[in-house]
Symmetry: C2
Subunit: 342 residues, 2 copies
DNA sequence: AGAAAATTTGACATCGTTGTCTGGTAAAAA
DNA sequence: TTTTTACCAGACAACGATGTCAAATTTTCT
């Protein structure tokens, strides 16, 4: 038999409500009574039933992590890990909800899941976090949410991100410092907030170094391995070949690497390659890819902390809930000075 | 406002209980009525409140997926995806619990999480599923659990797996059919149940084909990329070089691929490489790796189905809860006939 | 056709907790 | 001392579903 609050109440000679007050550390309980009740709680090993509690109070101690499903990448995995660990520390639980935003009715899917579980908060990752109407609906529901790397910041909600533009700038700069003059760039999906930022950082670094950007050496891409192969192949077969290519994510960088292998080019001797994100695959590839590390787990953990903060609910726009974490350049074997021939 | 069962009942002109029956697929509801109610459920987008359900039925509608944490590989991701989707279909929810079984107190961590959430069942993946004392404790708690790829089957619990030995046999056989005679093999961690099975399949295929196995061409490994590099390098630098290497998982196969690149060998011209698991990275690598596909998502889904089956609780040993799913050989560009020189 | 059995439905209590409201007692202010 | 205020504690009704049981209906059997 499980011990209920009534057992405790009877044993302590008080009402159930009073026990509830003690458990939840509410005000207005005489300290002596408080202690007496606590003693009984300890003695009986009473633990409140989480379901009853949620049902009654309409708080769930549950946070939701919403991910765009097809992109179930190591990015998503890292996010989940970070959020999970932080929830554990804070005595919350995490529900992971994959979403397919290209399918009809994903919003309803999300909403129903929110109210079935009465989530206390939601963590939104790209590209879900950029969906305006969705944000409006969450606000209408008064469900606190935090956006991760949404691109633009808004006054009305917490954000966790890194300075993508500066990161791209730094990476480009480091290629320039290695001696590269003709550096190619592969863009991501236009709808993704990171795309223009990373491009801007690249362009800015080239401009400041007084280097010209060859139009054909800035190629479109869509963050997939395949698009990296295509863009890389086109660029490498072209009339003038860049000595380095900076892809705006790791998967595409791996695509470039594959394209180079196909064309008989050796990395990094004939071509330097840099990526972005520091996914596990960047490490596992051969050669390992030089990339920008985003502290994804910490970002997720920060999002959890923000959501749990009792102040957040009433002041989601407060600047202290706009957190920018730091990134790091990870140099691996896919980059080197250009061949002496140049 | 959230939609409750009463709203549906009112709209459909039936009692709340009837709606409840429909939702839970209980018997004794006229098909026409069933459909009518379902239509209203759809129309209103009703989803039962998980807490109220739990409170009332003393079931939690929550399943736990326990994963060995450091191995948060694409294996784990696939498992999670499969389990999640199936839970959604069946109106259950999933809680993912990463565990570090090398750390002290992981068992307690697991137990507290089980009784805080009052899980209805647990899915155990390797290597957690092989921990005898843990199984005993779960049984003591009367918590149904299903083991995924545990190696040996037990009378007392459900199992989902594939025939790893035959899969390894088939893969080896297909290399032999390509014309390879000297095929190397890289083993996994000994504690992992898959290791001896995959080895056995390989040895058996070699034996039946009348091929001899060179002792140095069966190397130890630990399922990591790095161990694949090391084993591969050792084998390829040795006096006689195999024309094909079968690594017992994809990460190690990628390691072999990297080692080959390092030594200036071209895959598959100079060396064929095969892996096992069909993880996302096997597809993304260059060249893409030939491998054995485990239907991991389906395996997880099957585990969910077993746990939810009302019969399972009382007859966990029933043969119908021992499910073997089918695998598939995925041929990609890392394998080809050996160079003509041989 | 009439009785028995099976099927289909609903009323109502219940799960364990917290929110609201009300009454009483002790401390502070007049 | 009397009035006001603060503080404490309990009764009772939610929260939203399911379990139980009994009534109404249909089917099946003599």
């Amino acid at each position: 038999m499980t011990i209920t609050i009534k057992d405790v109440a009877a044993q302590a000679g008080v009402s159930a409500k009073t026990v509830s007050r003690v458990i939840n550390q509410e005000a207005h309980v005489r300290p002596e009574l408080r202690d007496a009740v606590m003693k009984v709680v300890e003695a009986l090993g009473y633990r409140p039933n989480a379901f009853a509690r949620s049902l009654s109070s309409s708080r769930s101690y549950l946070l939701g992590l919403f991910l765009h499903d097809p992109a179930w990448s190591s990015y998503a995995v890292a996010m989940q890990r970070g959020a999970l660990m932080q929830c554990r520390k804070r005595n919350y639980h995490l529900v992971v909800e994959p979403l397919d935003i290209s399918s009809e009715g994903w919003e309803r899917q999300m909403m129903t899941s929110i109210d079935a579980l009465r989530l206390d908060g939601a963590i939104l990752t790209p590209p879900v976090c950029r969906h305006g109407p969705l944000l409006d609906r969450l606000e209408a529901l008064k469900l606190p949410y935090v956006r991760i790397s949404p691109g633009e910041r808004l006054e009305r909600s917490g954000v966790v991100d890194i300075d993508e533009e500066r990161a791209a700038y730094d990476m480009t700069r480091s290629l320039i410092d290695l001696g590269h003059r003709d550096i190619g760039f592969i863009k991501g999906i236009p709808s993704h907030a990171a795309t223009p930022k990373r491009l801007k950082g690249y362009l800015e670094a080239m401009r400041r170094a007084g280097l010209s950007v060859i139009p054909d050496h800035v190629a479109p891409g869509d963050f997939t391995f395949r698009s990296g192969i295509e863009a890389g192949e086109a660029m490498l077969r072209g009339p003038s070949r860049p000595t380095a290519i900076f892809a705006s994510n790791d998967d595409m960088a791996l695509g470039v690497s594959a394209a180079a292998a196909k064309l008989g080019l050796t990395v990094p001797t004939d071509l330097s390659i840099a990526g972005f994100d520091d996914t596990a695959t960047a490490r596992i590839a051969w050669p390992p890819i030089t990339t920008v590390r985003q502290p994804m787990e910490e970002m997720a953990a920060a999002a959890v902390d923000i959501l749990i903060d009792p102040v957040y609910r009433n002041a989601p726009g407060d600047p202290r809930f706009q957190r920018e974490l730091s990134y790091a350049l990870i140099t691996r074997e896919s980059t080197a000075p250009p061949a002496a021939s140049s």
